[in-house]
């Protein structure tokens, strides 16, 4: 559950991050200001607060929408998607900064060449900028992934049964909470270790590709 939650938030976060990064590098002031303001806001707020606000906010939103179209049923917010959306928002905001940095790292010549070839702005972005940017963005994104993996534990507080909450509930029923928390901690360590190894591989590959 933890891994699927992390992957779902990763996908949501990458989409949000990509859109925000595009907002930040284009020339329209309002969009740029909006993206920067959002970044400032989410970076100043604790992740925990964001997750709670998204969860309860979605709950209220869905129920008001339902009652406004006069449907007389209560739907409880799917915890998985509320959690994934909250974590994705946080990830996206940080990722947008990484993407922005990566976009600036793309050599100017490549963009100028694409203009010389007569590609439109949209084509330049999708066919030149984004493929070239990945290499610079990957190490930063791997760091964020490590943070995200640890942040998934926050979702335990809104009673979604991921690794930490399962450990807590099992520990309480077996009356041995320490052992269960220990096992959960080891599992988290295992996940971060695997990600760490992957990160080292990716960084080596990326730096090699840069040299050629």
């Amino acid at each position: 559950m933890t891994v699927s939650l992390a992957v779902a938030s990763l996908i949501i976060g990458l989409i949000i991050g990509g859109v925000l990064a595009l907002c930040k590098i284009q020339p329209i002031t309002i969009l740029r200001g909006f993206a920067h303001g959002l970044t400032l806001l989410f970076r100043g707020m604790p992740e925990f607060l964001v997750v709670l606000v998204v969860f309860f906010g979605l709950d209220i939103l869905i129920n008001t929408l339902l009652s406004s179209i006069a449907m007389d049923l209560k739907i409880s917010t799917p915890k998985f998607w509320a959690g994934a959306l909250g974590l994705g928002l946080i990830f996206g905001v940080y990722a947008s900064e990484v993407f922005k940095g990566a976009c600036y790292a793309v050599p100017k010549g490549a963009l100028e060449a694409s203009q010389a070839l007569g590609l439109s702005k949209l084509q330049t972005t999708t066919q030149i900028l984004i493929p070239l940017m990945w290499r610079y963005a990957l190490p930063g994104l791997m760091n964020l992934w490590l943070v995200l993996l640890k942040d998934t534990s926050l979702v335990a507080v809104i009673a979604f049964d991921e690794l930490l909450r399962t450990a807590k509930v099992a520990g309480e029923t077996e009356r041995e909470p320490f052992i269960f928390f220990l096992v959960a901690g080891v599992l988290y360590l295992l996940m971060t270790w695997v990600s760490d190894q992957a990160k080292i591989r990716v960084e080596n590959r990326v730096s090699l590709a840069g040299r050629n």
Binding site: F48, I60, K150, K168, E176, A184, G185, L189
Partner: protein
């Protein structure tokens, strides 16, 4: 120290939190939305609780990290492995699991409940302080040792050649430079710790987040979280300012400024 002593200290702190809360909230009563104005002084109390917790944790963690970085840099080889394992463990697991493991997990053992340390381990605030300190110390150790490893090797040799012993080398040469180089990273870690300190509300501490959650569970009104978010952003801004001022006024006229970097090349 008995439990009664702890309790009186606790109430003294709470007392002046609420005094300030009253002073701030009474003028604001008309401006604030009606849903949060009755709870305003509680949020202010939470604000100061969070601030004290984070400030104390950061100070203790810094002292610990300084010690551990010293051991890693010049200490006996025997001490390297345990410190590395400690750092890896605290960096690799979520802080929530560390808090819960100490607060809920340790209660499993009878002998800990009967020992003298239970005054600390039985109270959420102290567990929060201990865990936040240990967690931040791990991150700060990593930052400091990384910065020390990045210093030019000639510095060590130079210090050695003018007859400094390893301890002096660390205290007079390595550490002062390392802390200046890594100050932005340390400030960043402070802000991250501030944000993870919201998690102590899950172990019954009434910090800013704890108060916000209690109030929310009564009124079910999202504005409370908005107010808490605003106060958190205020705290973040304040910490950024403090970090900037320390950098500006303490680290300015000392080595590792531009002129020093020129000659140390």
């Amino acid at each position: 120290m008995t439990e009664a002593n702890f309790r009186s200290i606790y109430f003294w702190f709470k007392g002046w939190h609420y005094d300030i809360g009253k002073a701030v909230c009474v003028p604001l009563e008309q401006i604030l939305p009606t849903s949060i104005s009755p709870y305003c002084s509680r949020l202010i109390d939470g604000f100061f609780t969070t601030f004290e917790l984070v400030a104390l944790a950061l100070i203790f963690a810094f002292l610990l990290a300084r010690m551990m970085a010293q051991l890693l840099a010049i200490g006996p080889t025997l001490s390297h492995k345990p410190i590395k394992i400690y750092v890896y463990m605290f960096q690799g697991t979520p802080i929530l699991i560390q808090l819960w493991m100490v607060y809920y997990g340790l209660a499993q053992f009878k002998w800990i409940q009967e020992s003298a340390g239970w005054i600390l381990l039985g109270s959420g605030w102290w567990v929060g302080l201990i865990v936040l300190t240990l967690n931040s110390a791990a991150y700060q150790t990593n930052i400091l040792i990384g910065s020390i490893r990045n210093l030019p090797q000639g510095q060590l040799e130079g210090a050695h050649s003018i007859g400094m012993n390893p301890r002096q080398t660390y205290q007079k040469i390595l550490f002062p430079q390392a802390i200046r180089n890594s100050w932005p990273a340390l400030a960043n870690e402070g802000i991250l710790l501030l944000k993870s300190s919201a998690l102590v509300s899950t172990i019954t501490v009434l910090d800013l987040m704890g108060h916000a959650r209690t109030v929310f569970s009564r009124s079910y009104d999202l504005w409370v979280y908005g107010g808490a978010a605003l106060l958190y952003i205020l705290l973040t801004a304040f910490m950024t300012l403090v970090a900037f001022l320390i950098r500006r006024y303490w680290f300015q006229s000392l080595p590792s400024d531009s002129w020093f970097r020129e000659i140390s090349r």
